[in-house]
């Protein structure tokens, strides 16, 4: 029982073992895997998804799911490249970031309003709103384009103290998460995700808790869009669309329960790293990239089927 509790409190253990194994395999194939250059490159590519998946974790732990996070990334990306031109000064960039944050939070608030207060189904609602956000992105930026100031993209590539920028971001995210875990809101979040009725009768404002997870996911989607935009230096109104599924896969890989009430963001970050390494292995193995989608989808189905399969294997239904 103590072992079970240990696993329950550290649900990312399985993911961590998987990650170590995959790193070992990848390092044996790719000799320069541990060079600062390669590591920084990997962090740059994975950071947007990490931030996005952290937002997804919030929503899933609170008992919901957000299928519009990718569309929100597209929307904020479109806003950024429209407002920032190569000649933009610091003031213009800050203004654009503020507009991007507001857009993400407004989009999240809209999701939260529908799910928490109008009590619509999260899956259907956020799937529908994802088309609204995609549509807005296409309205703002009808075709790929735009260019960011060199200074910005250089900043994103920087490695202060020989450590990739992404590491700092992850540390900040983990610190914020520790703050949430040690706060009353953290208790409310997990209670709402685990048993919303029980939480409500305990006097917890469950609607507000759910609402805030969607707003949080919206804000983090905006941050993910910042990282993504700085990474590629230009805009594409469809750029985030494929990230939604990845974000859910990362959450699941990280040991967070899809039905809510259990998990954490450390696992999610590990989950994103696993996805990144699988992707790099697939490209090394010289197979078509759509295998990545196949792998992702298989992981979700296995995660959903896991408990049932376990019961079947033990021979009792």
């Amino acid at each position: 029982m103590t072992w079970r509790r240990f696993l329950r409190q550290n649900p990312y253990l399985f993911a961590l073992l998987l990650l170590i194994g995959l790193i070992a395999i990848n390092a044996s194939i790719q000799s320069n895997f541990f060079s600062l250059r390669a590591i920084n490159g990997n962090f740059r590519v994975l950071l947007p998804l990490m931030i996005l998946a952290v937002g997804q974790s919030l929503v899933i732990i609170g008992g919901g799911i957000d299928l519009s996070v990718g569309a929100m990334v597209s929307l904020v990306n479109a806003i950024l490249v429209t407002l920032i031109v190569p000649e933009s000064g610091a003031g213009g960039v800050v203004l654009a970031l503020l507009v991007g944050c507001s857009a993400g939070m407004l989009a999240g608030a809209f999701n939260g309003l529908c799910v928490a207060y109008l009590r619509l189904q999260p899956i259907v609602t956020t799937y529908a709103t994802s088309f609204i956000f995609s549509g807005l992105a296409l309205l703002i930026l009808p075709r790929p384009g735009g260019q960011l100031p060199r200074a910005l993209t250089r900043f994103y590539r920087s490695t202060p103290l020989e450590i990739p920028l992404g590491v700092y971001v992850i540390i900040v995210l983990l610190l914020l998460w520790a703050l949430v875990r040690s706060s009353r809101f953290g208790q409310y979040l997990f209670a709402t995700g685990s048993n919303a009725d029980a939480a409500y009768t305990s006097g917890i404002p469950t609607a507000l808790v759910k609402f805030s997870t969607y707003v949080g996911a919206g804000l983090l989607s905006a941050f993910a869009a910042f990282a993504l935009t700085l990474g590629i230096g230009s805009g594409n109104p469809r750029i985030g669309d494929a990230m939604t599924l990845d974000s859910i896969v990362a959450v699941v890989l990280g040991g967070t329960r899809l039905s809510g009430g259990q998990g954490g963001i450390a696992g999610t970050i590990i989950g994103v790293a696993i996805l990144g390494i699988i992707r790099s292995l697939i490209s090394f193995a010289n197979v078509p990239t759509w295998y990545q989608t196949l792998v992702n989808a298989t992981i979700i189905v296995l995660a959903l089927a896991g408990p049932g399969l376990w019961r079947l294997i033990r021979g009792r239904v």
Binding site: R8, A199, Q262
Partner: protein, 495 residues
């Protein structure tokens, strides 16, 4: 302390409460009584802010208040121990006790250690009747321990009015005794307490006054010292009923079922024999393995041991096997196991029997048969096409039984079928059981209601901890021997 006047609550067209009155003083224990559908649970929910009344007045210490949410009621000092558990399974005992009122500095820096110690102190109140620790997860606890955590959770908020809604339902007798000692102590400390319980004897043990509801209205109030169980029951149902014996003396037919040494993880070797036309009762405290026995016989859980129908050994691997041999099981949990709530009465009645109506299904024949059963059961419904969710508890239970009657079972397994069913429907149900016996159906009947077992059965097996502690019949079948056996007292009780 609290006064509720002229409380009205409508759910759409349904009038759950038409005129509810309730008052309780500090240091007083009031029993809230009523049959199912009397509105007593609705009144309780209004007082705790779970539902908002359509109209009416709530006062606390003379001041008018409104409770838009449970949180508002709690801030005013009103806390309930819910029958439907309000615990979060994935969280620890401590986290659950303090859920919604965590100790923290400004919302951050939860004071986990202080809360842990306080939880330990609260758990000590019930020692040694529980073994849970502050760090245990709720999902690892037994139902009775969960119920006690629920009580402690309410208590941790230092309420001025505590509502115990069927709080003893899953407790064992020592835990109940301990709770009542504590209630006495809280009362002396000036707490107002409202008790809702289906166990009349418990109410007489702790309550000073009873408030009785009938058909959504408060019909009276009486001091416990000046009333009797019969008087209260009379107030509840509106007419005098004497405890009666419903059983008709049928002659026992051939041996239908025999079981030897049946074991599961909950059962430790059960032997029993049941003849056609016999009504065999299963008694004892709740959760002593009665349900496991019924499920094992129905092929729903695996077991070791021998089972024979009409002398022929059988082994069921699936309820389907049992059904083919004429065995039917009526579950206690209507909503989850017995019915598909949103589908029509017709579909529910015919659910186990569709294959008898061929391909394609002969709808008119199915409808005819279903209507016949519905009439036999005097089912009160709009039409066969109305959804089951539109029926009252008693009528819904009839549908559960009806769907098996359509298969004309030879052996009927009943798992506490009258739980949550009103008095009138119970009477109809007893008549039905007697009719079935006369047709020669063998019935194995588990009930958590001792009166029912005494009134209906020829013979009662009492289970305690997964074994039969007594087989009572004839003049040995009386309340004192039944209670003694269910408490595990083995010596003979003088009749």
């Amino acid at each position: 302390m609290l006064e509720a006047r002229n409380i009205v609550k409508h759910y759409g067209a349904v009038k759950a409460l038409v005129d509810g009155h309730l008052s309780v003083a500090a240091g007083e224990v009031v029993a809230l009584l009523g049959a199912n559908g009397s509105g007593k649970s609705t009144l309780g929910k209004v007082v705790t802010g779970v539902v908002s009344p359509t109209s009416g007045e709530l006062r606390i210490n003379g001041k008018p208040v409104t409770f838009p949410s449970p949180y508002a009621a709690r801030k005013a000092g009103v806390t309930a121990v819910y029958q439907e558990l309000s615990l979060v399974p994935d969280m620890s005992v401590t986290e659950n006790i303090f859920l919604g009122h965590e100790l923290s500095r400004g919302g951050f820096q939860l004071q986990r250690e202080t809360m842990r110690q306080e939880a330990e102190r609260l758990l000590d109140l019930f020692r040694p009747t529980i073994s849970a620790t502050p760090d245990d997860l709720i999902l690892d606890l037994s139902p009775s321990e969960r119920q006690i955590i629920e009580i402690l959770k309410a208590l941790s908020q230092q309420p001025r009015l505590l509502i115990l809604d069927e709080a003893t339902a899953s407790l064992d007798s020592q835990q109940v005794d301990r709770l009542f000692e504590l209630v006495e102590r809280w009362k002396l400390a000036g707490m107002a307490i409202i008790v809702v319980s289906h166990r009349m004897d418990e109410l007489f043990r702790i309550a000073e006054r009873a408030v009785v509801l009938r058909n959504g209205a408060t019909v009276g109030s009486a001091l416990m010292s000046e009333t009797s169980e019969e008087d209260l029951v009379t107030m509840m149902i509106g007419e005098a009923v004497t405890p009666q014996r419903y059983a008709s003396e049928g002659e026992a037919g051939e041996l239908r079922l025999s079981v030897k040494g049946l074991r599961t993880d909950l059962l430790g070797g059960i032997d029993l024999e049941l003849r056609d036309g016999e009504l065999l009762g299963l008694g004892g405290l709740q959760g002593q393995g009665q349900e496991a026995l019924l499920l094992a016989l129905f092929g729903a859980i695996p077991f070791e041991g021998e089972m024979a129908l009409q002398g022929k050994p059988v082994s069921f691997h699936h309820p389907k096997d049992a059904m083919e041999q004429g065995v039917a099981y009526v579950p206690g949990d209507r909503g989850n196991e017995g019915l598909v709530m949103i589908r029509s009465i017709l579909e529910n009645l015919q659910l186990p029997s569709w294959r008898r109506y061929g391909v394609p299904i002969s709808q008119s024949k199915a409808r005819e048969d279903a209507l016949e059963v519905a009439q036999d059961l005097s089912l009160k419904m709009e039409s066969l096409d109305a959804p089951v969710s539109s029926l009252s508890g008693g009528n819904a239970q009839k549908v559960v039984i009806g769907k098996w009657l359509l298969r004309e079972p030879k052996l009927l397994l009943l798992n506490d079928p009258t739980k949550g069913v009103d008095v009138g429907s119970k009477g109809e149900f007893y008549t039905l059981l007697n009719e079935l016996r006369q047709k020669g159906t063998a019935i194995l009947f588990y009930s958590s209601d001792d009166e029912e077992l005494l009134g209906l059965c020829d013979r009662v097996l009492v289970l305690n901890g997964g074994v039969v502690t007594a087989a009572l019949e004839g003049k040995d079948l009386n309340r004192s021997s039944l209670v003694a056996a269910s408490m595990g007292v083995s010596e003979e009780v003088p009749a």
